[in-house]
């Protein structure tokens, strides 16, 4: 399937996609890199000057940075743990025969299709609001003091909201993986005298590893960039209690108009993401065959 002719054609066909993505990567990124070495504030146009590593120094030594870094890690890891563990359990449950499988599947997957701004606002107002939210109503019904989720435990609340959005994704993928498990393999293991627990540990779990890898990879990509949920619920607060790196850079550059500082933050975010990416690509490279 390869003549010189078709190879040339292939190169031609692939180049628009490659060139566009390359430009999309390289042009804005090099601009960010350039800005990150400038003193550049949108409120003071024409005052740009070279400042060397100052922006990086200020960004990295700002206590908000270490808070944001911790929050980012907590957010990603927290959501991953909840969704993977919950997803495996839920997938195992839904893989059993029961009545109404189709409808249950549809209900479980639904939160994934809800746009982030909607789910954040619904949870914030209808459920977590300390006066009119459902949790407050329930607490009062039980004679308890309503809990103000978003100001008392802002990060945990956001983790809960984001986990609610991503649990369906993990469940669906793990369920699909479970259903693709070779029945004959299971039966062979049963003939070989493996108990139900043995079969789970030695056949089901290894089979799911690949699917879990994929879930972790894809969710991490999206979770590092969580933004809308924070913007509409807490605005990163109180203080920096629920600020992640993405939100911090946004705040720095578009709320404080500090292009230089924001750019330095952007570069730091890129570097951090790349560290994670290298990790993940190794994992996925082994598990995915292109």
């Amino acid at each position: 399937m390869a003549t010189q002719h078709s190879k040339t054609a292939a190169r031609l066909m692939i180049s628009p996609a490659v060139i566009l993505l390359f430009l999309w990567m390289i042009v804005p990124l090099s601009m960010t890199l350039y800005f990150s070495f400038l003193r550049y504030n949108l409120l003071m146009p024409g005052m740009e000057s070279f400042t060397g590593w100052d922006n990086y120094y200020y960004f990295l030594t700002d206590p908000a940075f270490s808070a944001a870094l911790t929050n980012t890690i907590l957010l990603v890891v927290g959501v991953l743990v909840i969704t993977v563990v919950g997803g495996v359990l839920l997938a195992l449950l839904l893989d059993q025969p029961f009545w109404g499988q189709g409808i249950v599947r549809v209900l479980v997957i639904a939160p994934f299709f809800v746009m982030p701004t909607v789910s954040a606002l619904v949870w914030k107002n209808m459920f977590m609001n300390p006066v009119n939210g459902m949790f407050a109503h329930i607490a009062r019904g039980l004679g308890l003091q309503p809990f103000d989720f978003l100001s008392q435990a802002p990060l945990a609340s956001i983790i809960g909201i984001v986990a609610w959005q991503w649990l369906p994704f993990a469940t669906l993928i793990l369920l699909t993986a479970l259903q693709s498990l070779d029945r004959e393999q299971m039966e062979a293991a049963e003939m070989d005298g493996a108990s139900a627990l043995d079969r789970f540990l030695h056949i089901t779990v290894p089979h799911l590893t690949r699917a879990i890898t994929v879930v972790v990879l894809i969710q991490t990509i999206f979770l590092l960039g969580v933004f809308a949920e924070i913007l509409v619920t807490t605005n990163g607060g109180p203080g920096t209690a629920s600020t992640n790196i993405t939100y911090l850079v946004y705040a720095q550059s578009l709320l404080n108009y500090d292009v230089g500082g924001g750019s330095a933050g952007g570069i730091v975010a890129v570097v951090l993401a790349n560290i994670v990416a290298i990790f993940l690509m190794r994992m996925i490279g082994k598990n995915l065959d292109a």
Binding site: I14, A17, L20, M31, L94, Q96, R105, V118, G225, I245
Partner: protein, 276 residues
């Protein structure tokens, strides 16, 4: 092949599955219910709310207050537009990678995937400035460009996995039959890959519809899609639960329906073909 499972076991599983499914779905259900209530009833305790009168008033209010139709159209144009443009760029690329694989094909695919890992904030400022200076800020075309580039890697990957399943011999047959490259892709590959292309389209419309970083950063009013429209409810103005619910229901209903249709293909698309 199927085993006999005891009815009582099935009953327990059924109860457990339905309970969990109900709890997961509950916030959506509650939002939809609340959207048919008056503002006064919406903030009542759950039972009182449930048994109060039903009304369509909130939907009317939302339309009046924020021109839902315009935001809806923006969402449609932006998500569909960016997906179609991405398809046009991605189909030839996926053809090349699936049918004329070279030594570097896998690397190119991995590289494309890695562009998805670049955090959006890393390029926020330059893009914002470029858009400001070129007049693309708050325009549909600007968002179409950005979302096309964001989803392009996923579109290429998905199409690639679907194309891989089409036997190369069929395309060779077309070549022997005198088809040019153009007719090969147009008359043979594309019709054969219709199911794959359709699910790629569907998934990307969903992703673009729900995209909530660039749509929030790069629009304010004219081109604002539904994500921005909903975000405008984040600062409460008096009694607004019912209106928020109505707006939310309208924003998620179309995509929820599309999503339910596409859930089978979804897994494959979202996992780049790694899980089928």
């Amino acid at each position: 092949m199927s085993r006999r499972t005891s009815a009582s076991r099935t009953l327990i599983v059924t109860l457990a599955a339905w309970t969990i499914a109900f709890l997961i779905f509950f916030p959506i259900l509650w939002t939809v219910l609340m959207s048919f209530k008056s503002e006064g009833d919406a903030i009542k305790a759950p039972f009182a709310m449930l048994f109060s009168d039903w009304t369509l008033q909130s939907y009317a209010d939302v339309q009046e207050r924020s021109n839902y139709a315009r935001h809806f159209m923006n969402s449609v144009v932006i998500s569909l537009g960016s997906t179609l443009v991405a398809l046009v760029i991605a189909i030839p690329a996926a053809w090349a990678m699936a049918f004329v694989p070279g030594r570097r094909t896998k690397d190119v695919l991995m590289w494309m995937l890695s562009t998805k890992m670049m955090p959006a904030v890393g390029v926020l400022i330059p893009l914002y400035l470029i858009f400001r200076d070129t007049g693309l800020l708050d325009t549909r075309i600007g968002l179409v460009i950005v979302l096309t580039l964001i989803n392009l890697p996923i579109v290429v990957w998905m199409l690639y996995t679907y194309f891989k399943e089409i036997p190369g011999e069929i395309l060779e047959a077309a070549r022997m039959d005198g088809a040019t490259l153009g007719s090969e892709i147009l008359y043979i590959l594309t019709p054969m890959a219709v199911p794959g292309i359709a699910s790629t389209l569907l998934l990307n419309v969903i992703l673009a519809w729900n995209e909530a970083f660039w749509t929030l950063q790069l629009t304010t009013s004219r081109a604002a899609p539904l994500t921005q429209f909903i975000a405008s409810y984040s600062s409460p103005e008096g009694l607004f639960y019912a209106k928020l619910s109505a707006a939310s229901t309208m924003a998620i209903a179309p995509i929820l329906i599309l999503g339910w249709f596409s859930q089978k293909q979804l897994v494959r698309g979202l996992t780049f073909g790694a899980v089928k």
